[in-house]
């Protein structure tokens, strides 16, 4: 027995002593939901964007702390109607050592269009040609003012390296790019396991200066459980938690001393009303619901700590801070008198309603919003049933107006930071029946305003078009604008992320706040 005890004690001591050796370099560890897609032509979600923005570069970047764009791989550009001509920097090389030229830009566009995945739809009807080694011209089939902002989603790839790894069966080297990087980015991929993590190392030959304190190595882990993240941060083994942690866990981490980083201004929480089904085919019935929704309570439900919340008050269809948004003085508030007045004008008696309020099974907070709506609408005498829909089933249900629930809840971000990519897919009558457009809105005035936003020759024209659209949408109420979304990340004090903590340094584009070269490690 004494011998057994001794063995156990020795094992315990050995286990305790088995700590990993000290890290020689500064290592940043963060997590995201599975799975990280490395091929930039297929990138679409948050993890993919983080990889793309660090392994690859784009011709331009969103301006930090304000609207507009600044040159990045390009040194400048000219716009002439449907022609956009970019002059490239001459000091940029790919991680392979190959110089970046106009031919790479053309190839990047063609590869993305050929694969037809990710955000390739942004580049439909666009062609490109290399005017000379360092000049490239994009030509659009029809005017599209937000094209410049779309270019933040066109990562430039290394044509020579990709062609060297292409085969007859795989002409675009998809297999190679799903495991390797081929960009000019500040970080190179050293290991990639789509289910567990991607490891990146600082690219010492990056064309821009990188601060001394930037992380030497980054480990982007996938699919960590909330309890695991909390334990890892407590052990000092993790630096930035994903935004997908439950608010309670983020709050608990903040209480334990974690700093809270935020990213906002690109998306919102939308409660979508099916305008193709009675009683929500009537504008007054919809207005009644929009007035009855308790915006204040919804915001309280997502509060993490004093002054930090996963959302801020909405002012309309466009999030505050985005081009064309209403001012913060137009905050949405609950108004039961207006709701009752709208109900009186609604041709469907409240007693006859039985609204289907759906929530996406993978997003637990939506169940709480569904219960809130049920209680809010009951005050108008409206009965409702709550329906849980897994995402896969939801995307199928919305393909017909009859199958689409009366009320659907969606979190949505503008993929380029421009309101066109937020609103066109939601409200234009040509694109009903997708998860973005369960409203089935068919309104010629809305269509006209969306087209005006797309084709406006100047920023002033576009701004005017979106202001008009915002007012019109509030008037016809196809959607309840719940709140403007703010992503909150709990982080250790080892890391400093100005783009996620200082509004003057924010990019206004989802995921770009995770530009690792701009971060600073305390032990860097």
């Amino acid at each position: 027995m004494i011998k057994t005890k001794g063995v156990f004690a020795a094992a315990l001591v050995a286990a305790t002593a088995l700590t990993a050796p000290a890290l020689a370099q500064s290592v940043l560890r963060l997590d995201e939901v599975a799975v990280g897609e490395l091929d930039p032509a297929k990138a679409s979600d948050y993890a993919d964007s983080i990889l793309m923005f660090n392994v690859y570069d784009t011709l331009l970047l969103p301006r930090q702390g304000g609207p507009g764009h600044v040159p990045h791989l390009a040194s400048g550009w000219d716009v002439d109607g449907v022609n956009f001509t970019f002059t490239l920097r001459e000091d940029v090389t790919f991680q392979s050592g190959n110089p970046m030229t106009a031919a790479d830009v053309v190839y990047s566009l063609e590869r993305m269009q050929a694969l037809g995945q990710g955000l390739s739809y942004l580049f439909g009807g666009v062609s490109a040609e290399a005017l000379d080694e360092m000049t490239v011209r994009f030509t659009l089939e029809e005017p599209y003012a937000p094209f410049v902002s779309s270019l933040v989603r066109l990562p430039i790839v290394d044509m020579a390296l990709i062609e060297a790894n292409a085969t007859e069966d795989d002409p675009w080297a998809e297999a190679f790019l799903s495991a390797n990087g081929a960009g000019t980015g500040a970080y190179t991929v050293t290991a990639h396991n789509p289910q567990s993590e991607t490891v990146m190392a600082l690219n010492e030959s990056y064309f821009l200066p990188i601060g001394e304190a930037a992380p030497d190595e980054v480990r982007l882990r996938y699919g960590l459980e909330a309890a695991t993240v909390r334990t890892l941060i407590a052990q000092g083994e993790h630096d930035i938690a994903s935004q997908w942690l439950p608010p309670e866990v983020i709050g608990a981490l903040a209480e334990d001393g974690a700093q809270l980083l935020t990213e906002s201004g690109t998306g919102a929480f939308y409660v979508k009303l099916n305008t193709a089904r009675a009683p929500l085919d009537d504008v007054n019935c919809r207005r009644a619901l929009a007035h009855a929704f308790d915006y204040g309570t919804a915001l309280q439900m997502i509060e993490i700590a004093d002054g930090v919340s996963q959302g801020s008050p909405a002012t309309g269809a466009i999030p505050v801070g985005m081009f064309g948004a209403n001012g913060p003085e137009m905050v949405m508030t609950r108004d039961m008198d207006a709701a009752r007045a709208a109900m009186e004008a609604c041709p469907y008696p409240a007693a006859d309603w039985n609204l289907e309020i759906s929530w996406i099974a993978e997003v637990p907070i939506e169940e709480r919003f569904a219960l809130l709506m049920q209680a809010n609408f009951a005050e108008l005498g409206i009965s409702s049933t709550i329906e849980t829909l897994p995402w896969a089933l939801f995307t199928e249900r919305v393909t017909t107006p009859e199958g689409t629930p009366h009320i659907s809840q969606i979190f949505f971000n503008a993929v380029t930071g421009d309101p066109d990519t937020l609103l066109y897919g939601m409200y234009h009558s040509s694109v009903p029946g997708t998860w973005q457009s369960p409203e089935y809105l068919n309104d010629p005035m809305v269509d006209a305003a969306l087209e005006a936003g797309r084709t406006g020759a100047t920023e002033a024209e576009r701004s005017e078009a979106y202001a008009a659209l915002n007012a019109l949408l509030l008037e016809i109420a196809p959607t309840i604008y719940g709140y403007d979304r703010q992503s909150v990340f709990a982080a250790s004090d080892r890391v400093s992320v100005p783009a996620l903590s200082d509004p003057a340094m924010a990019f206004g584009l989802d995921g770009m706040g995770f530009t690792f070269r701009l971060m600073e490690m305390a032990d860097g």
Binding site: A14, A15, A20, L119, A227, W435
Partner: protein
Amino acid sequence: MSPVLRILARRLGISVIVLIGVSMLIFAIARIIPGDPARIALGPSATPEMVQALRAEMHLDEPLVAQYGHFVADLARGDLGQSLYTNRPVTTDILEFLPATLELVLVAGVLMVVLGLPLGILAARHRGRWPDHVIRVLTLLTVSAPSFVWAVILMLLFAFYLPIFPVAGRISDVYAIERVTGFLTIDTLLAGNFAAFADAVHHMILPAVALSLSGIGQAARLTRANMIETYDKPYIEMAQAYGFLPVRVARSYALKPSLIPSLTIIGLDFAAMLGNAFLVEAVFAWPGLSRYGVNVILRKDLNAIMGTVLVIAITFLIVNIIVDLLIAFLNPRIRHSTRGAS
């Protein structure tokens, strides 16, 4: 042909039929799961045209029978298709993730045998006394909570409050071990890196214990019950009457017949762990096949679902065959009863 070879041949024949049945069943079930695989794979921003193009590429626009035909033809070439979840060949994914799960499950299985059986024997030998009571209470506790609950409890106790063990992954970031077999404990030894080997074992302790606790309890309780039943048999009473030592009675007369049902259950538990390990893998960020299997089901990744289920089914069948052979080895009646059947 020897009896054992006859059993092996018969079991292999049955296994082929079972595999064909499993493939048809899973093929059908995978297509019943709600959601369009192409839509899920391409993400929320994809246009209807992009979705339609991928559906055609995956043959999803063809009748079910034709789809199954494509699957079987590809399978015959050893091609399980492309995963929509990882954008890699399914075979690549399986080869990468299976060793991690197998390694974990093997260690958990060893723990089940080396702890479960002795505990059961000990409890039976001391029936009605305090060792029996203690073991019964402990094993009841382990079987009454699923492995993911143990995973969280162990993590809280031995990683959060008492930071003795690492909480995520298979090895510390500082070790870069060349992949040879995919089993890190073997690869670290092949690399001659003993510190890395110790680190890999250190990472494995909590998940393996969490995964095995329920099985240890089950094996112990079953062995105890079987041995107690055996102890009541007249031949045991006769051995005791001859004055044989209790250790000899237990080892030579009571244990062997009691092991047969325990082995069957341990074999089934072992194979079932391959599929059930996903929550333990999720809690400890263990990049294994179970976790992969759940992720691909949630994303309706048809090729990967088929591949994963087939691998788990094959493992199940292999383990069953091994258990059948062991039982035949231990029990001559089973060994010789197959003679007529063959």
